[in-house]
């Protein structure tokens, strides 16, 4: 007989719980700092959208300049590249971000990002402690899954920031949902740390589940961009029609990136991770082949992974071949992400199939 899987180390599990609660406290501080960022930022006057849209009719949209990278010698007078955006998109500059260009707002924004990074480290330590306490991948039940999910989402956001991508606009939303996710995880989904059922004893757990979590977290970030795109696009359309949106809407929308930027952002994210999602499903099928004797059996979880996959394929098609840029494609993307979320919460809790394991 193989040695019995080690019993859970209760001490480490307890430490993991403390770490998770601490990270929630720090995320809450980050949340408050983001709120302060938005409040101070609201004192700025932006109004670039209207200026750009009305100006565009008279003089043609201002072109965006892109400087070549690389430190070659001819830096001083090297040729400048002029780009023109594609037809059908408005030539609107990106908003200045939540801080609205105000110094105080920016300060709070920086504090928020630092706190988020700190909370991320604490949460990640919590995940590692949990994994060590059971000596296995920390993905045996929904509690652990939710924990890793938010850690990866925040990690992806921080990586984007490190890559100097313009993503600080999503800080507040991200921190809010992470708090929500952790709240749900600790109150309703909590499962004491323990060993796995035999069906999960497989290295495929590491492969299949980790990629599933990464895809979910990144698709979440993409969906946030899509949702804001819809709001921002509505806002730009109203201004284009000559309407004057309310003060609050203006204050928030003016600070977001332009609709075209948001749209491109979420398309890139979704397209970049669609192959990984494809891989996740195939890895799952291989594992199912080993564990259950069939590669594909239309178990609810399999069905919804498939639906999610087809929905994302539909979205990519809409953009690549049918020329459905914009709102229609955005609705498809949101539908696809809704399928993903349902596949996670709905299918695990409401429909039980072979994927229901110990403690939800």
């Amino acid at each position: 007989m193989t040695p019995l899987a080690a019993e859970a180390n209760e001490n480490l599990a307890q430490i993991s719980n403390y770490l998770v609660y601490s990270s929630m406290a720090v995320y809450t501080l980050a949340f408050l700092a983001h709120i302060a960022e938005w409040i101070f930022g609201s004192r700025s006057k932006v109004g670039r959208t209207a200026a750009a849209l009305t100006g565009a009719q008279a003089a043609g949209a201002p072109a965006v300049q892109v400087r070549g990278k690389g430190g070659s010698t001819a830096v001083l007078d090297r040729p400048k590249v002029v780009t023109r955006s594609a037809a059908g998109t408005r030539d609107v500059p990106d908003g200045p971000g939540a801080a609205g260009g105000t110094e105080q707002g920016d300060l709070y924004g920086r504090i928020a990002v630092s706190l988020t990074a700190l909370a991320f480290l604490i949460e990640a330590a919590g995940v590692v402690a949990r994994a060590t306490s059971v000596k296995r991948a920390p993905w045996g039940n929904m509690y652990e899954f939710s924990l890793t999910f938010s850690t990866v989402a925040v990690g992806a956001y921080l990586i984007l920031l490190l890559l100097k991508k313009n993503v600080r606009w999503m800080g507040l939303i991200l921190v809010t949902t992470v708090l929500l996710d952790l709240g749900i995880a600790t109150t309703w989904l909590y499962t004491a740390s323990d060993q796995l059922v035999p069906a999960l004893h497989s290295y495929w757990l590491w492969i299949h589940v980790s990629t599933a979590i990464i895809c979910g977290a990144v698709f979440y970030i993409g969906a946030t961009g899509t949702l804001l795109y819809l709001f921002r696009d509505g806002y730009e359309a109203r201004i284009e029609r000559g309407e004057q949106p309310g003060r609050f809407a203006t204050s928030v929308m003016e600070r977001l990136p332009s609709a075209a930027t948001l749209d491109k952002f979420s398309y890139r994210i979704n397209a970049a991770f669609f192959p990984l999602w494809t891989f996740t499903i195939i890895a799952g099928a291989i594992w199912a082949g080993d564990a259950w004797g069939r590669y594909w059996g239309w178990d609810p979880k399999e069905v919804w992974s498939f639906v999610t996959w087809v929905a994302y394929a539909c979205y990519l098609h809409a953009r690549a071949t049918a020329g459905w840029k914009g709102r229609k494609a955005a609705y498809l993307a949101l539908f696809a992400f809704a399928c993903w979320i349902w596949n996670y919460y709905g299918v695990n809790i409401l429909l039980n199939g072979k994927h229901s394991y110990a403690g939800v």
Partner: protein
């Protein structure tokens, strides 16, 4: 819905500029093999052929493909909400009982077999016909494009999505030659003309895209093949007993339409030992930790015996078939004597687990050899309930407290009469059909029941015989599946991921460089780029290439570059 406008940003959006738009379209021509959409409208030409052609065009158009794709995702949803025969026939039966009024409608709509239903099949067949009709012609077209050269530079480069210009003292022909070298050095395919260079890169994108779609077709073929030739059977094996792979040995068996029993590879095995371990403590006390079946395995009709182990995630592979460990349970060993004291039955009877602590139920059926006190032939039946860990006397119900054999107990209720096994109807071995049986009654006239510990004996009322609980055996269930085509499906899947990555991460783009002698004898260099879809990469790449060319053709001194950021637009 035009598929060309991404290649030529202005072609459809600005009718006023349509003349120039056409030229841009030429520059972007064949940048992808995406099909041109037919104008909506009825068929051209008359008769059946015209309609057929129209129908084919519609089916292979991107619009219809997109709708079919979306329909496919919607159509697979009901199967996750309503139980499927293919997945769990028991659940289907329960659902039918609970939703009696819906059953006819649901059956008409094939809602219990969504994934083999007519409507689901129709959608994916149409989708795949569409896919073939769309992808195969594109593959040939793409092969043609690979042999083609990048198209000549459009007249007005400054209208393209990324553009740059400067003036240099180098003669125009030297600039053109240098541009050809720079672009070629960056692995562009180049075509040098008199005063301009055309270059293109990223053919792998299209190749990846085609590979992905063709891989989808390969996967579908593999699934269909597997479906037609597959076989799948289940077998419960008691410890010490064996199984040999012939049709008659299976408890249940399903197979595809083209399967023949000859496809079953000959092998046999006996179950020597079965180990299960469970969490003894902690919040998930009782959940399984490890299962392992130790078997002696023989390949072929009379091959040499080998010791093998089968675990949940580690099936045994034989000649294209796999043997999986599915479940396990207990089989109390029971012996029955007739009124004369003769042992007429002694067997291990498998019980079906009811919960995770292996509370199990079953039936013991004594079909032959029993005669009652008066010498009349009869059959005996016992409803059985087995718990591996009994809660203890007076502690409520007969539910097991733990899945291991800590305190096993067997509860029997006794019947006599006809078991109904000879009626020809298939019977559930775990259930007693008491319709033609009478109860053995206890003193108070109730059904005679007794709980026994191992080694205990119960005496049937009226001297009708005895039943002894001799001991406990284990059993394991195995599933033996033969799934041809899975290797092909896997190859298709891997090709699909590779192709997809190529199609999503590689940009196909063109760069043009033109150098012309200006009126004051200074050469004007212009560079422009055009991509399949707008991308931040393209301007960056153009800037890098411009910087490289600029080193060889630096800006003419004393004449600063005019930064025409605006003005140039039409």
């Amino acid at each position: 819905m035009s598929t060309t406008d991404k290649a030529s940003p202005e072609a459809s959006q600005q009718p006023a500029a349509s003349a120039r738009g056409d030229e841009d379209a030429a520059a972007g021509a064949q940048l992808s093999t995406a099909p041109l959409e037919d104008a909506p409208g009825g068929p051209v030409g008359i008769g059946v052929l015209g309609w057929l052609r129209w129908f084919w065009r519609q089916l292979t158009s991107m619009r219809v493909a997109l709708i079919l794709l979306f329909l496919l995702s919607l159509a697979s949803i009901p199967g996750s909400l309503i139980p499927q025969t293919q997945v769990d026939a028991m659940k289907v039966a329960t659902w039918k009982r609970e939703h009696a009024s819906w059953v006819t409608v649901a059956e008409k709509l094939q809602l219990f077999d969504v994934y083999s239903s007519v409507w689901f099949s129709a959608i994916y067949l149409l989708l795949f016909i569409s896919l073939i009709g769309c992808i195969l012609p594109r593959s040939w077209q793409f092969v043609g494009q690979l042999r083609g050269r990048p198209p000549r530079a459009p007249k007005r480069l400054d209208r393209l999505p990324a553009y740059t210009t400067w003036r240099t003292d180098k003669p125009a022909d030297e600039v053109v030659a240098a541009a050809g070298k720079v672009l070629g050095g960056s692995r562009f395919r180049t075509e040098t003309g008199a005063s301009s260079v055309a270059a293109e890169k990223g053919y792998l994108r299209e190749a990846g895209n085609l590979a992905f779609h063709i891989a989808l077709i390969v996967m579908l073929v593999a699934f269909a093949w597997g479906q037609l030739y597959k076989s799948e059977g289940g077998k419960l094996v008691l410890r010490g007993k064996g199984f040999s792979n012939t049709l008659t040995q299976y408890d249940d068996f399903k197979s595809g339409s083209f399967f023949t029993p000859d496809d079953l590879p000959p092998f046999s095995f006996t179950l020597d030992r079965f180990d299960a371990s469970y969490a003894k403590t902690g919040p998930q006390k009782g959940t399984a930790r490890d299962f392992k079946a130790y078997v002696t395995f023989r390949e072929g009709a009379n091959g040499a015996p080998h010791k093998r182990e089968i675990e949940v995630n580690k099936p045994l592979e034989v000649d294209g078939s796999k043997v999986y460990l599915l479940g396990h349970g207990y089989a109390p060993v029971v012996s029955v004597t007739d009124p004369t004291g003769k042992v007429i039955f002694k067997d291990a009877v498998p019980m079906l687990p009811q919960d995770s602590n292996l509370t199990s139920s079953g039936a013991i059926k004594v079909t032959d050899g029993y005669k009652d006190k008066d010498g009349k032939k009869e059959q005996l039946g016992f409803g059985a309930m087995f718990v591996p860990t009994y809660a203890g006397e007076g502690k409520g119900t007969m539910f097991s407290q733990f899945p291991d054999l800590d305190f096993p107990a067997l509860m029997l209720s006794a019947w006599h009469g006809s078991l109904g096994v000879d009626s020809g109807l298939p019977q559930n071995v775990y259930q007693l059909d008491t319709s033609k049986m009478q109860m053995f009654k206890d003193d108070s006239g109730q059904l005679f029941k007794q709980k026994m510990l191992p080694g205990e004996t119960m005496t049937l009322p009226g001297g009708a015989g005895t039943v002894k609980f001799e001991g406990i055996e284990r059993w394991a269930t195995f599933s033996i599946t033969h799934q041809p085509g899975s290797g092909l499906a896997l190859a298709g899947a891997i090709a699909a991921i590779g192709g997809l990555a190529g199609s999503l991460f590689i940009q196909r783009r063109r760069i043009w460089v033109r150098a012309t002698a200006g009126e004051d004898g200074v050469t004007v260099v212009e560079m422009a780029g055009l991509g399949r879809s707008e991308s931040t990469k393209l301007p960056e790449e153009l800037a890098a290439l411009a910087a490289a060319l600029h080193q060889q053709a630096p800006t003419a001194p004393d004449r600063p570059v005019k930064e025409n950021v605006e003005g140039e637009r039409g």
